[in-house]
């Protein structure tokens, strides 16, 4: 018998309790061990964020104390005031929002339509073309980035929103993802619409789109996260501070304050930059986790 922390049913009538009740509060030593381990791991995950918040609330110089104060002795919002005063934080934040929303919206439109073409329309060379789409997924961004930069700069799109947004809209992955979903929809529904005289466009927008909510949500989440966190591309094509996205602006912070990095200010900016991610994550947690688990795309 395994050792258990639940009371044995010695009191009269206890054994009559439904089994479900006992299994729900099954606090034997194993469950406690699992909870302890998971809790320790969870603290390791949250710890660095908590430390960032704690540092951001310290006054200048209080970081350089040994041993470090886990909690600020005299908490202050100075660092936040400085970030917002010395750094176009809101501008950068709005840039990130605008670019991520535009790319997401663009991908939903373009990829759903091309995905539908690959799933349902019949045309010469469809399967070959689709294989080529998939083949591009294997090519690392490092291969694409040099010519892409040249193309985009020849178009005069460096230091512009267009340069940040347009190359991100045409996702072969998005097309692939939507096609797979559309293939899972029973054909009968569309055939019924055709008999009623609906064309492809009407069928797509009236029948397919309304029933593809989950696929749209997942692709939206992946596109949004991917764009929001994207670093290399905006780093390369944006040099004006007014057009930077959050990750790029954050990465320049270390350089702004020469000599000793003012960690309270850097951490304050990091916290401010992470809060929107946190909010989106809490609101869309289910879609995010399912989308990532199903696709293997980290965004």
């Amino acid at each position: 018998m395994k050792p258990t922390l639940t009371l044995p049913p010695s009191t009269p009538g206890a054994s009559d309790r439904p089994r479900a009740w006992r299994s729900r509060v099954h606090l034997d030593w194993r469950t406690l061990l699992v909870i302890a381990l998971v809790l320790i791991g969870g603290l390791i995950m949250i710890g660095p964020f908590a430390w960032a918040v704690s540092t951001s609330l310290k006054p200048r110089g209080a970081m350089l104390v040994l041993p470090p104060e886990l909690l600020p002795r005299e908490p202050t919002l100075d660092a936040y005031v400085q970030v917002i005063g010395r750094f176009p934080f809101f501008r950068v934040f709005l840039n990130s929002v605008f670019v991520a929303v535009a790319v997401t919206f663009g991908q939903l439109v373009i990829c759903s339509m091309s995905g539908y073409a690959f799933a349902r329309l019949r045309f010469f060379g469809r399967d070959t073309l689709f294989v080529l789409y998939i083949a591009t997924l294997m090519v690392p961004f490092a291969v694409i980035v040099t010519p892409l930069f040249i193309i985009v700069s020849r178009m005069g799109w460096t230091d512009s929103y267009v340069g940040l947004i347009v190359p991100g809209i045409f996702s072969a992955f998005g097309t692939f993802f939507m096609r797979q979903f559309f293939l899972s929809i029973p054909r009968e529904l569309e055939e019924a619409a055709t008999i009623d005289g609906a064309g492809t466009i009407a069928t797509f927008f009236r029948i397919i789109v309304p029933m593809s909510g989950p696929a749209f949500a997942t692709l939206a989440v992946l596109a949004f996260m991917g764009t929001w966190n994207s670093f290399l591309w905006p780093l390369l094509i944006i040099s004006q501070r007014a057009l930077m996205t959050l990750p790029v602006a954050l990465s320049t912070l270390q350089g702004i304050y020469p000599g000793q990095t003012q960690w309270n200010i850097v951490m304050a900016s990091t916290v401010l930059a992470t809060i929107p991610t946190l909010i989106v994550f809490m609101l869309a947690q289910r879609w995010i986790i399912e989308g990532v688990a199903g696709s293997g795309v980290k965004g």
């Binding site: 998971v38 964020f49 789409y133 959050l246 986790i289």
Partner: protein, 289 residues
């Protein structure tokens, strides 16, 4: 396709056209261009000059390139086993009936959704040799912590550790999805037969989880060949080139030294590595079925 005649093509153009043009210009075109560029020397100012396979030959004898490759592989060899092990560990723990599972799952996943730049900045501060939290803790137990990101021997382990921390939740959700697909009855039957926790892990969980494990493994491998963001923000390839990885070197060659052809050749060697990895996984999967 429900339309006939020219309408058919109009509908096709409407649905597929934008994506086809966009993918051609912003993905397929650059891929072809990069391949062509890898056989030229081009500094963006003077016209590109065809040099045959000279760039690839130069790669073979470029000590810097081999060093970069070794660094990338040492990242991979540290990161992949650790992230799979920690992801599996957490997934198995969270697949049990404990209260607050959803909250724990969210805690582990939080680093995954956070931008690499934010994470890298936080960890730079944690790794600070003099005032960082990690060395202070080590000091409490009487260990003199290393210089971490400033020490050529410790910079790569530090980056690996941070990457494992960030991606544990990513591997966890892939494996959790796999675990939840294992029928309960198997475990119940095993329990009746008297199998303990480790026997159930060995004979039920691991075998049935293999597809999810292989998926997580292949993605982790492919991603680790392309490691860049964390390196750029945490060390910029330093100290003394100890963390210079492939993508960092490609980006430098292209955008700092304007060696477009050489950078392209290097990027195709990266593609070669990823392609070979994918091929191995494909053959393994086909061999099994």
């Amino acid at each position: 396709m429900y339309e006939r005649g020219w309408r058919r093509y109009a509908v096709l153009a409407l649905f597929l056209g934008p994506s086809l043009v966009g993918v051609a210009i912003f993905t397929a075109g650059p891929i072809v261009a990069s391949f062509a560029l890898s056989f030229t020397n081009w500094d963006l100012i003077t016209p590109a000059r065809f040099v045959g396979t000279a760039n690839y030959e130069r790669l073979m004898s470029d000590e810097e390139f081999w060093r970069t490759l070794r660094n990338t592989l040492s990242f991979l060899l540290g990161y992949v086993p650790l992230v799979i092990a920690s992801g599996l560990f957490v997934a198995v723990l969270l697949n049990t009936k404990i209260p607050g599972r959803q909250i724990f799952r969210a805690m582990y996943f939080l680093p995954v959704v956070t931008s690499w730049v934010a994470v890298a900045l936080i960890w730079r501060w944690l790794y600070n040799p003099a005032y960082g939290l990690i060395n202070s803790f080590l000091g409490l137990i009487g260990v003199r912590g290393p210089g971490w990101l400033f020490d050529p021997n410790w910079a790569m382990p530090a980056i690996i550790l941070t990457s494992v921390w960030k991606d544990t939740g990513f591997v966890m959700v892939i494996l959790l999805a796999g675990l939840q697909g294992i029928p309960r009855q198997y475990y119940e039957a095993a329990s009746i037969d008297g199998a303990n926790f480790f026997e159930r892990l060995r004979f039920i969980t691991i075998p049935l989880l293999t597809p999810a494990l292989v998926f997580a493994l292949s993605i982790s491998l492919i991603n680790s060949f392309q490691v860049f963001d964390q390196v750029y923000v945490m060390t910029e390839g330093g100290p003394a080139g100890a963390t210079m990885v492939l993508v960092e070197r490609i980006v430098r060659n292209a955008f700092s030294f304007s060696r477009m052809g050489y950078a392209s050749a290097m990027s195709w060697s990266l593609f070669g590595l990823i392609f070979a990895t994918t091929l191995v996984f494909y053959l393994l999967r086909r061999g099994r079925s």
